[in-house]
């Protein structure tokens, strides 16, 4: 944390959220990695190491939410941290938690990904929160993210309800000066009151559900007076912008840059659900024309329309603009330009603030080289998918791969030879495959390979794998074990040999789990054994039932970071290399596709860029002319 002024430090939004968790007095924090939320737990692991706070990477978001609730039930303040998709994972638990209520303050910090930039979909946590009957607030700045999180613990504990705090990618990853508050001294000891069990059972829930609604009404009342709701502008502006979260900054920038401060007022809503209806009514009285600016779904917009409907007799007509009117695009991320465009359309005479990124990019597009998104240099997934591809081609029944959302999801593209044909969410590959694998009587002749990463294996694959085995599905299940949660920033997981703070840890191996589930499992190094792996996959494709393979080799980029990789570098013997002639046609540089394999067009020969070679040896294994060899330390 860098100090800016005497009282401020420069914090990333996620760091501010982490600080808010500490200032809120949490004793327990659990999460599962996932952009854009990953830095919150990572920050706490670093900064709270000496504080009496338990911080963990849980096996998945469901477990994180449940484990944190355990701490809350024991009277401690606790937080569960996740990206939006994680709320889907733990929705079953949260829905019942909202009914039983909590003891110690319980906050779910959730980071949405408008766009999406790094997610498989752009879900909106506000809709989920409402469905789960959990109050949700939305921060606009890192300062507010911290302060709002701290307050969320207070609301949660006072009203005995879980509370969610929403961030979005550009807030989580943006930086601003934040004034720090005090981290309270620990004053509680954990104890569960067995006299008052927390039971969400049919008979009990019928009684508890109305109580939960009472709690929501109490929270709504708290929200009426919240400092996180604000209004800036004239008393009766020509246009009123109603906005929440980061969108408020976009609205402010657009209004200020277009010089519309006198004509346009901005009502900022931090406490988005249950919406403080009195406050909203006051806002609606200010103007006949209303533009709602928010991220992802028209959540506030629907609320505004509903509130206007409630007050129609008093207010009369209102023109309400937003996503439904087409003034804000229906999906995707927004920016200050989006708001400026909407203002121009409604008020007239507006202009774009500056060229958008897309426009700027299109101008220089001609000069940019074409580059496919690619696995990293020496990435073991490249070898794994080459082996799988080879096996499926040998099998000849038009087989395919069902995958999910780790780095290996890139195998839907050229870098993984377009092998993955189905991608949805964590663990969906093996689940889908357990369906494909029983369709033989319905005419399905294609074999299916399911892939999952090692972290995903522990997070989300076990029920699918058990289901496949139990239902006699024909599936080859391949665990791509690179020993870290690589895609989200190299976090540890149960199969890693290091713990959350880098300390040594006894890894739980995927093959141990698979075998214990009665699934025959073999382990290979996907690079050194690339040919044996293709033989093994082919062999398993011919057998009935579930067969597992664990392809284990440490993530090459993680190795680079830890400086633990091989010092060997590949070298091409250009005397042997046959280049573009029949017999090769630039196989290593054109087909295998590792960034380290380069083509010397002048000589018509392949060579290795030593700066891009980590000595994995895949090209050595695959060159059918034995023209490539490994040299220790390079030349």
């Amino acid at each position: 944390m860098k100090e800016t002024t005497k009282n401020q430090v420069l914090l990333m939004g996620n760091e501010a959220l982490a600080r808010g968790i500490l200032e809120g007095g949490a004793s327990f924090v659990a999460g599962y990695p996932g952009n854009p939320s990953s830095e919150i737990i990572a920050t706490l692991l670093q900064t709270a190491a000496d504080l009496p706070v338990h911080v963990e990477w849980s096996t998945n978001e469901m477990v994180a939410a449940e484990a944190a609730a355990g701490a809350s039930f024991a009277g401690l303040r606790a937080a569960a941290v996740m990206k939006e998709n994680g709320v889907n994972v733990c929705a079953d638990f949260l829905a019942t938690l909202a009914v039983t209520g909590v003891r110690g303050g319980y906050v779910v910090v959730v980071c949405d990904d408008p766009g999406p930039l790094t997610s498989s979909n752009e879900g909106d946590a506000r809709l989920l929160a409402q469905a789960l009957e959990i109050p949700i607030m939305e921060a606009s700045t890192p300062q507010e993210a911290k302060d709002m999180t701290r307050w969320a613990f207070q609301v949660s504990e006072e009203r005995s309800t879980p509370v969610m705090v929403r961030s979005v990618s550009r807030l989580s990853h943006g930086r601003a000066g934040v004034e720090l508050g005090v981290i309270p001294e620990p004053s509680r000891s954990a104890e569960f009151d067995t006299e008052h069990p927390l039971l969400c059972l049919p008979s009990v829930a019928a009684i508890s559900h109305p109580l939960a609604h009472d709690r929501l009404r109490a929270v709504q009342k708290d929200f009426e007076d919240s400092i996180f709701n604000d209004y800036e502008g004239s008393d009766a502006p020509e246009l009123l912008v109603i906005s929440s979260g980061l969108s408020v900054l976009y609205a402010r920038e657009a209004v200020s840059t277009l010089g519309m401060g006198d004509r346009v007022g901005i009502a900022k809503i931090g406490t988005v659900w249950p919406l403080p209806e009195g406050r909203l009514g006051d806002v609606l009285r200010r103007s006949k024309r209303i533009l709602v600016v928010e991220q992802i779904e028209p959540f506030l917009e629907e609320k505004v329309r509903a509130r206007h409907s409630d007050l129609a007799g008093e207010l009369g007509d209102r023109d309400i603009y937003g996503r439904r009117s087409g003034h804000i695009p229906e999906t995707g991320d927004i920016s200050a330009n989006t708001v400026a465009d909407a203002l121009a359309a409604i008020m007239g005479g507006g202009r774009r603030l500056n060229a958008t990124f897309a426009e700027a990019a299109s101008e220089i597009k001609e000069d940019l080289p074409l580059r496919d998104i690619s696995f990293c240099r020496g990435c073991p997934h490249r070898a794994s998918f080459w082996a799988i591809r080879t096996a499926l081609e040998l099998d000849g029944r038009n087989g395919f791969v069902a995958g999910d959302i780790g780095c290996y999801g890139l195998a839907a593209g050229p870098t993984g030879y377009q092998q993955i044909k189905v991608v949805h969410c964590m663990g969906s590959g093996i689940g889908n495959a357990s369906g494909f694998g029983v369709l033989r009587d319905m005419g399905m002749e294609q074999p299916v390979v399911a892939v999952a990463g090692d972290s995903t294996f522990f997070a989300s694959c076990l029920p699918g794998l058990i289901n496949a085995r139990n239902n006699g599905a024909d599936v080859v299940f391949v665990v791509l074990d690179n020993s870290v949660t690589a895609m989200t920033g190299f976090q540890s997981h149960p199969g890693s040999s290091f713990g959350p703070r880098g300390e040594p840890q006894e890894p739980l191996r995927p093959e141990t789990v698979c075998r214990a589930l009665g699934v025959e499992t073999s382990v290979y190094d996907p690079v050194a054994d690339v040919k044996r792996v293709s033989e093994a996959v082919y062999d398993r494709l011919q057998r009935p039932g579930v067969q597992a393979l664990v392809l284990r080799r440490t993530c090459s980029t993680y190795e680079d970071r830890m400086r633990m990789g091989s010092s060997a570098v590949a070298q091409v013997d250009q005397e042997i290399c046959v280049g573009e002639t029949c017999g090769c046609d630039r196989f290593c540089t054109r087909v295998v596709g590792c960034p380290g394999n380069r083509w010397d067009a002048e000589k018509g020969k392949a060579y290795i860029d030593p700066d891009f070679c980590n000595g994995c040896g895949l090209c050595v294994e695959l060159c059918s002319w034995d023209a490539i060899s490994l040299t220790e330390g390079g030349e």
Binding site: R389, T390, E393, L394, T581, C582, G583, D585, V591, S624
Partner: protein, 361 residues
């Protein structure tokens, strides 16, 4: 017109037409073999590739005249062209040999006389037939016996040709023989790794490796499989000596595992070989020889004069029977090709269909 891997995949590899001879493999990284499977992996841009040229199933190549090859590559009479016929058995009998042991005797003679420096042969591997390169008499003897399933033998020839300057003798099935003849004619006798001798085996059909394993209960290991025989009708069984026991497999079940590619094969007697060798019905221990080239004739004569082979004439009745059987296979292949060609007009199927007119003429 493109004659590369893309077209090979489109016309052969992606279909049931591929015989898994291995002619296209062992030449580059794009074509891989495993057990009795051959597949193209990755896109090669070469528009005139050896893979397409050497394949026995690419059909007649546009712009090129009659290849002069027979069997699957053209019609040259019921058993193709030949110089002479006969029957023979090994002069040094060994019980491990299928039928007459003539093939083993010929290969050993060829090695001894320096006609070849190495022999590419098929043995039983851990999971099925496997092709090896033998350079000693003991290694050649260890490969005796029929296999009834295929291995991509020609890929081993391609692999060995690359790093080996000597002359190769190959024992091969008819589809493989056609590929080997294509290669030897394309590469000439000057190339390194010359194919100097092709001994062909009579073949009615071959089984898939996995199917063969399934029939036997488990895949036979190297020393598990003894003699395999299909006695003449009405027996309707395949007899197999497996680990000292004689199994009698119903022929109907066996035939379910015939490689689909065999259904449209025109070649029973390995018409493009130097010498073709097969069974002699009713003469236990003897092999039929069809000697087709000067190389074949000289080898058989030397083997006879050196006492490796005991030789007799092939009687007229057996000779007629062999021609009828060979023609019968062609007619069955043509009938299958006509049906399949209607559904998928692949060049090879159309070429097989056209052989009908040549037979009628």
């Amino acid at each position: 017109m493109e004659r590369g891997l893309g077209r090979l995949k489109k016309e052969v590899l992606s279909h049931w037409l591929c015989t898994a001879c291995g002619a296209c493999a062992g030449l580059c990284p794009y074509i891989v073999t495993l057990e009795d499977r051959v597949a193209g992996v990755g896109e090669c841009r070469e528009s005139d590739g050896d893979c397409f040229r050497f394949c026995p199933r690419t059909g007649p190549v546009e712009g090129e005249g009659d290849s002069g090859l027979h069997g699957d590559a053209g019609y040259g009479g019921p058993v193709g062209s030949y110089e002479s016929t006969g029957i023979a058995r090994s002069g040094r009998r060994s019980d491990g040999f299928q039928y007459g042991g003539a093939v083993t005797a010929l290969m050993i003679r060829a090695l001894r006389d320096g006609v070849i420096d190495a022999a590419v042969l098929t043995t039983m591997g851990k999971t099925g037939p496997k092709t090896i390169t033998a350079t000693t008499e003991e290694e050649i003897r260890a490969c005796a016996g029929s296999k009834y399933a295929v291995a991509p033998t020609v890929s081993e020839v391609n692999r060995v040709r690359r790093g080996f300057g000597g002359r190769l003798g190959v024992v091969a099935l008819p589809c493989q023989v056609t590929a080997l003849r294509k290669i030897s004619e394309a590469e000439g006798q000057e190339a390194s790794g010359t194919i100097a001798l092709i001994v062909g085996l009579f073949c009615t059909w071959a089984l898939t490796q996995r199917g063969w394993g399934a029939l036997l209960g488990e895949e036979p290991g190297p020393d598990d499989l003894g003699r395999v025989d299909i006695p003449p009708p009405p027996a309707d069984v395949m007899e197999v000596d497996l680990r000292g026991e004689r199994l009698s497999l119903p022929l109907r079940e066996v035939k379910e595992h015939i490689r689909p590619a065999c259904r449209v094969c025109l070649d029973m007697t390995a018409e493009n070989a130097d010498i073709s060798v097969g069974t002699v019905e009713g003469r236990e221990g003897w092999s039929t020889l069809v000697i087709r080239t000067k190389v074949g004739r000289e080898l058989v004569e030397r083997a006879g004069s050196q006492g490796d082979l005991e030789r007799e004439e092939l009687d007229q009745e057996r000779w007629r029977h062999l021609q009828d059987a060979s023609l019968g296979k062609k007619e069955r292949a043509i009938a299958s090709a006509e049906v399949e060609g209607d559904m998928e007009p692949l060049p090879f199927l159309l070429a097989v269909s056209r052989v009908k007119e040549q037979i009628q003429r």
